[in-house]
């Protein structure tokens, strides 16, 4: 009998075994969808996990404060905000550490290298959105509705490999200011420029037309780093490196900037000689001896606006010229990290929840204390600015932000060093006539190439 049964179904036991295995695998995948990722050696984040009331979560929050004269009110507001967050969540504790400005990059670099970064980071002086593999992609925690809170251009700036690793908090606008009466000969209107943009050549033509006896068409606030940084945005590539650390600037790109400077230098609308072009710029504008001035950062713009009004000038804020029709807005971010040592999905979730909750509050403080623009459209209406409606529109047109990251590769701190030691000296040598265009381009390119080399 036994032999007969065996002949009828030789794989019966095997089939049962296989069925059980399949059921187990499918059930396991349904319950723990990240198992495959974990077993294949990849890191997995489970954004759907819920925090447990009986568990406690201690978060490390590192802050590099914005460059403002008195940081104390900002700190007080931030600490109150954190207290508000933890009041309703007694199982979450947030430890805040203020990074000294000079050491922020270095501290972060060390923490990342040793696998012990903070849970949440806010670096108000850096536009770096991506810091490497320990960073948690925050887009995982946002649904489609949340996502529309940011204008597309701002979102695009934060995008790295099609994921948003850091939440855009606030944007720093870079603009120019015109003396409305002295600017009239240009026949350009702000509405027209805001609608269709204006490029470098149109800008040069305008400052030549605005030139009168004893009145310059344009005075730069700086012929150094600030002008060069603005010009990189004019030509559409503000960051020297991509998020993976590869150089972005090409020979043609740098030649365009060099040619742009040469044209500005030769314009009849600016002071001469070139290396003194930025001397007394504020005084010249306030004494009505310059029709326009720029680039202005978020600290200088409100100050100059008030001073211009006191001096009887009708000022207007204009966007800087741009070859791609965009405006110059540099974003700063909130980033969330995991430790190299596994802490659990709930800890990461707690850090992400804190970051998502904090972002709009931080945006408000950045607007109130540092004249930055909140990155979320809904927060723009409550922003207090001293400008007239048209200038306010220019200053807050974040939907026109350049859709490219301003970040400088995944290693914090290094980008600033390259800038200080390679790019800034090369630009300075060029604008003061010590370098030819070719020497400038070669100096920057070789500096970028050196920066991408790994040591022994």
């Amino acid at each position: 009998m036994a032999r007969v049964r065996d002949r009828r179904c030789p794989f019966r036991r095997l089939s049962w075994l296989l069925a059980i295995i399949v059921i187990l695998v499918v059930s396991a995948y349904a319950l723990y969808p990240y198992l495959y990722t974990v077993f294949s050696g990849q890191q997995y984040i489970n954004p759907r996990v819920s925090l447990k009331a009986h568990e406690s979560y201690e978060l490390e929050f590192w802050v590099r404060l914005p460059s403002i004269a008195n940081t104390r009110p900002f700190q007080e507001a931030l600490e109150q905000c954190i207290a508000d967050f933890t009041t309703g969540r007694s199982n979450i504790k947030v430890n805040i550490t203020y990074l000294p400005p000079a050491q922020a990059g270095q501290r972060l670099q060390q923490a990342l290298a040793t696998g012990t970064p903070p849970d949440v980071l806010f670096h108000a002086d850096s536009s770096q959105a991506f810091y490497g593999e320990l960073q948690v992609p925050l887009s995982l925690y946002l649904n489609q509705q949340d996502r529309t809170a940011w204008p597309e251009a701002v979102w695009q700036q934060a995008l790295v490999n099609n994921r948003v690793y850091a939440l855009p908090v606030a944007l720093f606008p870079r603009v120019m200011m015109v003396n409305s009466s002295l600017w009239q000969p240009t026949n350009l209107s702000l509405e027209q420029v805001l609608t269709s943009g204006w490029n470098w050549d149109q800008f040069l033509a305008a400052i030549a037309e605005a030139k009168q006896a004893q009145v310059y068409g344009f005075v730069p606030t700086s012929i150094g780093d600030a002008l060069f940084a603005a010009m990189t945005t004019v030509w559409g590539q503000p960051a020297a490196f991509d998020p993976d650390g590869a150089p972005l600037w090409t020979e043609a790109f740098l030649e365009n900037i060099a040619a742009g400077w040469k044209k500005l230098q030769q314009s009849p609308g600016v002071p001469t000689p070139a290396n003194t072009m930025d001397e007394n710029c504020l005084v010249l504008f306030l004494q009505q001896r310059a029709a326009s001035i720029g680039p202005l950062n978020h600290n200088l713009t409100p100050w100059l606006w008030q001073e211009a009004l006191k001096a009887g000038i009708q000022p207007a804020i204009w966007p800087l010229p741009n070859e791609t029709g965009h405006s110059d807005f540099r974003s700063v971010y909130l980033a969330v990290f995991r430790q190299a040592e596994y802490q659990g999905h709930r800890h990461t979730k707690a850090a992400a929840e804190f970051a998502l909750w904090l972002a709009p509050h931080l945006a408000e403080y950045m607007g109130r204390f540092a004249s930055a623009i909140p990155a979320q459209t809904s927060l723009l209406t409550s922003l207090e600015l001293p400008y007239d409606p048209a200038s306010r529109q220019t200053y807050t047109a974040i939907d026109k932000a350049l859709s490219r990251p301003y970040s400088y590769g995944p290693e914090p701190g290094l980008a600033e060093e390259h800038w200080q030691h390679t790019i800034a000296p090369a630009w300075s040598a060029y604008v003061t006539g010590q370098y030819t265009k070719e020497q400038f381009v070669q100096a920057v390119l070789s500096g970028l190439a050196r920066a991408t080399m790994t040591g022994p």
């Binding site: 460059s67 004269a69 870079r174 606030t221 700086s222 600030a226 930025d278 504020l282 005084v283 100050w303």
Partner: protein
Amino acid sequence: MRRKTWLTLCILVLSFTLAAPLASANPLNCACQDEDRDMRLDSPPLEGTDVEELQAILTTLGYYNNAITGVYDQSTAAAVERFQSWVGLKATGVFGAQERNALTIALAHESLSVATPGPPPGELRIEIDVDKRTLTLLVDDQVFKTYPCAVGKASTKSPVGEWRIIQKGTNWGGGFGTRWLGLNVPWGIYGIHGTNNPSSIGTAASAGCIRMHNRDVEELYPWIKVGTRVSIIGPYPRLRISQPLRPGQNSKEVQVLQLALREAGFNPGYTDGRYGPDTETAVNRLQIHYGLRPTGHADNNVLSLLDLRR
């Protein structure tokens, strides 16, 4: 005859016994010298270990500020003259027996002063409040003692700012009283000193210096070393600056710049009127903050931003 001899011997022994402690207390009694000589300016000048010793003691007492050379030169004579004036002797510049005795007494007084209980160990700092007319000695930022003082008149205000003691001296005489602690104010000679007009203490009466009772300044004097920080707190002068300022300059205008930088949140270090590296760094930071070219020079742009431009 025998009795007379014994009597003479006894007197001699007694006089030697009594004289011995006095002689040992005299700092200028040197074993290598048979007897004390009078010291004066001479050609060739007097030299020797006794001159060297005199210079060292006069330095300790604050009358002599030059190098100890062992040569009785013009500066030594001048120091002796200052000493003579202070002790009420005729200022001749000659160091004789009277001066030797007076010096012994002065040294004993000095050692007594040093023995007065002083502040505990720690960093000493002086804070002068122009409005309250008080001078406070702080040890590691904790108040140790507060003295009344007189400050500058409305027309000759005391220099508000952060200074250092750069000079110590005694018995400048007259209105300067018994002690002098000079400050490194770059635009004039200012200091903390005693007075011959004690009733002026607590008022605004001086030409800018800080006056104290002689007993107070004498107490303070041995505790304060050259280099001690002195803050004069009061209403800051509001000047307008007509010319750009550059590193290396020392002036009231530089101090006004430093005060304005500090008010704006850019730390220029001590507000001492000296445009040094700290001030240059602060100006650089301000320029970067506002997106200007960082030159470290307080040009018209910087002066405008700080509302200092005339």
